[in-house]
Amino acid sequence: MSRLKKLFKKDRNKLVVFITAGFPKKESTEDLVLQAIEGGADMIEIGIPFSDPQADGPIIQKASEIALSNGISLSVIFDQVRSIRKKTDIPIALMGYYNPILAYGIDNFLNDCKTSQIDGIILPDLPLDEGTFFCEKAKSVNISPILLVAPNTSNERIKLISKLSQDLIYAVSILGITGGDMSSKENLKKYLLRVKDNSECPFIVGFGINSSDDVEWFNNYSDGAVVGSAILKKVLNDPTNKPVYNFVKNLKGRTK
C-alpha cells in the first residue's frame, strides 16, 4: 500500500507541514524537513519556488524569492529529497506551479519523482479543466496527483476532482491566498462537511491555519490540517534554535 493510503487509513489527527525548498539557505531543506518530522509532522509538502506564485501570500512569496536567489532548482530539490528519503518514511508531496515542471519536462519530472520516492504532487495552477493529461500520467507511475477544491467548488466538481485525484485532495479553507484570514467556523464547518459528503477520497485542509487549536479543530472535520505560512514566518523571524521543530511540536500539542 502507498505511504499516502497508509497514512490516511489511520484514525488519528494529522498534521501536514509545508516547507519551501532552498529557504532560508539553499541547503536548509533537509534540516527544516527533519525538524518538522521530529516535531511530529505526519506528512511533508515541499514547495518548489516559482518566480510568480499567484496563489501565495506575502510570506511564501518572500520565502520563494529568497530560495530562488539562493539558486534552488528542481534538480537540486530532487537531490535533497533523495537524501531526506533515506531518513524518513512519511509521505512527501511536492507543491508548486506548472511552469517549472513544463520546463523540466513532464516525463523527466515524473521519473525523478519516482526515483526520489515522492508520493504526491500539488499544483495550484493546474485545475481539473487542464489537469487530466498530467494527472493520468502521474497515476500511471503510482504518484498521487493531489488536486485542490475551494469553498466555491460545486458538489459535482468536488466529485470529479476527487475521482481524478484518486488518493487525496486538498481543500483550500478560504477564498484567498496562502496565509490569508480565516472565515467563520460556522461557514467552514458547512463547507468541510460538503467536501466530506462529496469527495471519494480523504482530504486535507490548508491556507491560513496557524495554531494548535486550528489543527485540532480542522481534524474534526477533515483528514488533516496543513500549516505553511505560519511556520515559514517563524523561520523568517529567527532561523536559529530549531524554529520548525519547536513550532510543529507546539502545533501537534494536544493533537494526539
Partner: protein, 402 residues
C-alpha cells in the same frame, strides 16, 4: 511568409487555441471564470447589451475613430500609410473599448468592486474613467517602476477616484501588477470584477478582450473600402505587448488575403538580455492563467523583460498571438527602443501626431530595413495610443529634462 486561412474559429469551447490558452488558475477562480463566460456569451447576442455598448463607445468613447491617410510619410516611403486613430479615443488609447465592454458585464453581473492591472497606465486610466462614470469602486495595481515612469497617468487615475496600489515584488512592472491583481481577485471573487486590460489571462479573457477590441478592425474595413475605393488593404501592422490592440485590428481580417504584421519590443536588442520580444526569444509555458510563449530561464522561472515602453514591458503574450505565430498567419518582428524613439520623432515631425511609445514600435516597422513592403501598397497601422503620457520618458531618453 504569411499563410492565409479560411474559417478561423478560435478559441475552441474549452478556451484553447490548440495548445495555447486555457484556464491555468487556482480552483477558486474556476467558478468565476465559468460565470463570466456564461454571461459574456449571453450578452454577445443580446441586442440591448450591444446597443448600450455601441452608444457608450460613440457618445462617451468618441467612436468612430478616423482612418487617416498620412500623406507626407506615404510620399516619403512610396506606399500608402493609413493610420487608424485609436489615439483619439477618450482617455487616449484603444483601451477604453475593452474597459467599457467589461464594465457593462460587471454591472450586468452585479459586481460592486472593480480591479485592474496596468503597465503604461492606459488601461488603468480607461478603467478608472469607466468606474467613475458608473460610480463603482476601483482599485488599480501598478508596478512601482511603472508608477515612476508613468506619473501622469497615475495622477489622472487619482483624479478620477481610483485607488492605486504600488506593487513592489519581482520586476515591479506589469507582470507583478498582474500577479497582485489575481491574488486580490482570488480573495474577493464574490463581489469583485477583474477587468483585464489585454488579450491575456485565463479563458474567457483573451477571447472577450479580442472581441471588444475588434471594433477597431471592423471600422477599419469599412472605412478603407469607402475611402480608398479598394476592397482590402495589403498589410496591417500593430505593436504587440499582451496584444489587444493588434488583435482588435487583425481579427476581422483574419480570413482575408491581407498580410499581417505584429511588432514586439526588442528593448536594447534581442541579442542582449534586455528586451521584451516574447515570440522571438521566448519558450512555451504557463503564466497568468494561460499557456503561451513567455520569457523564461532554463528552470522555467519567468525572466524580467525590458522595454523603454511600459506597455510592452511584459514577459508573456496573449495565447492567440502564440497560435497565430505558430500557424504563420501573422508575421512577428521586433524593434528596439532606439528605433521606436526615432519613429516617434519622425511621425511627430512629419504628421504632427505624437504616438505612444508602444505604438511607435509599429511605426518603426515602416522605417526598418527588414520589412518587405512594396511600393504602392496600402498599409494600415493601428495608431493605438497617444504619446502625451510618454513625454517625460522620451525627454529623459534623449537627454533632455522638461
Amino acid at each position: 511568409m504569411t499563410n492565409n486561412i479560411k474559417n478561423y474559429n478560435y478559441p475552441d469551447s474549452s478556451g484553447h487555441f490548440e495548445e495555447f490558452g486555457g484556464k491555468y488558475v487556482p480552483e477558486t477562480l474556476i467558478p468565476a471564470l465559468n460565470e463570466l463566460e456564461e454571461h459574456y456569451l449571453d450578452q454577445k447576442s443580446n441586442k440591448s447589451f450591444q446597443n448600450n455598448l455601441n452608444n457608450l463607445l460613440k457618445y462617451y468613447g468618441g467612436r468612430e475613430t478616423p482612418l487617416y491617410l498620412a500623406k507626407r510619410i506615404s510620399k516619403e516611403l512610396g506606399y500608402n500609410v493609413w493610420l487608424k486613430r485609436e489615439d483619439l479615443n477618450h482617455t487616449g488609447a484603444h483601451k477604453i473599448n475593452n474597459a467599457l465592454g467589461q464594465m457593462l458585464l460587471a454591472i450586468e453581473m452585479n459586481k460592486t468592486r472593480i480591479i485592474a492591472e496596468t503597465g503604461a497606465g492606459q488601461h488603468g486610466v480607461a478603467t478608472a474613467a469607466c468606474a467613475a462614470k458608473f460610480g463603482l469602486k476601483c482599485t488599480v495595481y501598478m508596478g512601482e517602476e511603472d508608477i515612476e515612469r508613468q506619473k501622469l497617468n497615475v495622477f489622472r487615475m487619482n483624479l478620477m477616484g481610483a485607488e492605486i496600489i504600488p506593487v513592489t515584488s519581482g520586476s515591479k512592472t506589469l507582470k507583478d501588477a498582474t500577479n497582485e491583481a489575481i491574488r486580490d481577485w482570488v480573495t474577493n471573487v464574490e463581489n469583485t470584477f477583474y477587468i483585464i486590460g489585454s488579450s491575456v489571462g485565463p479563458h474567457p479573457y483573451p477571447m472577450l478582450v479580442r472581441d471588444f477590441q475588434s471594433v477597431i478592425g471592423l471600422e477599419t474595413k469599412k472605412q478603407f473600402k469607402k475611402q480608398s475605393g479598394k476592397n482590402l488593404p495589403d498589410r496591417l501592422v500593430a505593436c504587440v505587448g499582451g496584444g489587444s490592440n493588434a488583435l482588435g485590428l487583425f481579427h476581422p481580417f483574419i480570413n482575408d488575403k491581407v498580410k499581417i504584421i505584429g511588432v514586439e519590443a526588442a528593448g536594447k536588442g534581442v541579442a542582449t538580455n534586455e528586451h521584451a520580444a516574447t515570440l522571438s526569444k521566448g519558450k512555451f509555458g504557463v503564466l497568468h492563467g494561460a499557456a503561451s510563449y513567455m520569457l523564461q530561464d532554463d528552470n522555467g522561472q519567468v525572466t524580467i523583460p525590458y522595454s523603454l515602453s511600459a506597455g510592452l514591458d511584459y514577459p508573456g503574450i496573449g495565447p492567440e498571438h502564440s497560435f497565430l505565430h505558430k500557424i504563420k498567419r501573422v508575421d512577428y518582428h521586433s524593434v528596439t527602443d532606439e528605433e521606436a524613439v526615432n519613429a516617434l520623432q519622425w511621425l511627430s515631425e512629419k504628421e504632427g501626431i505624437i504616438p505612444a511609445l508602444e505604438t511607435a514600435h509599429a511605426i518603426a516597422y515602416l522605417l526598418s530595413e527588414k520589412n518587405d513592403i512594396e511600393k504602392g501598397e496600402d498599409v494600415i497601422i493601428n495608431l493605438s495610443g497617444r504619446g502625451d503620457k510618454d513625454v517625460n520618458t522620451i525627454a529623459k531618453y534623449l537627454g533632455n529634462i522638461i
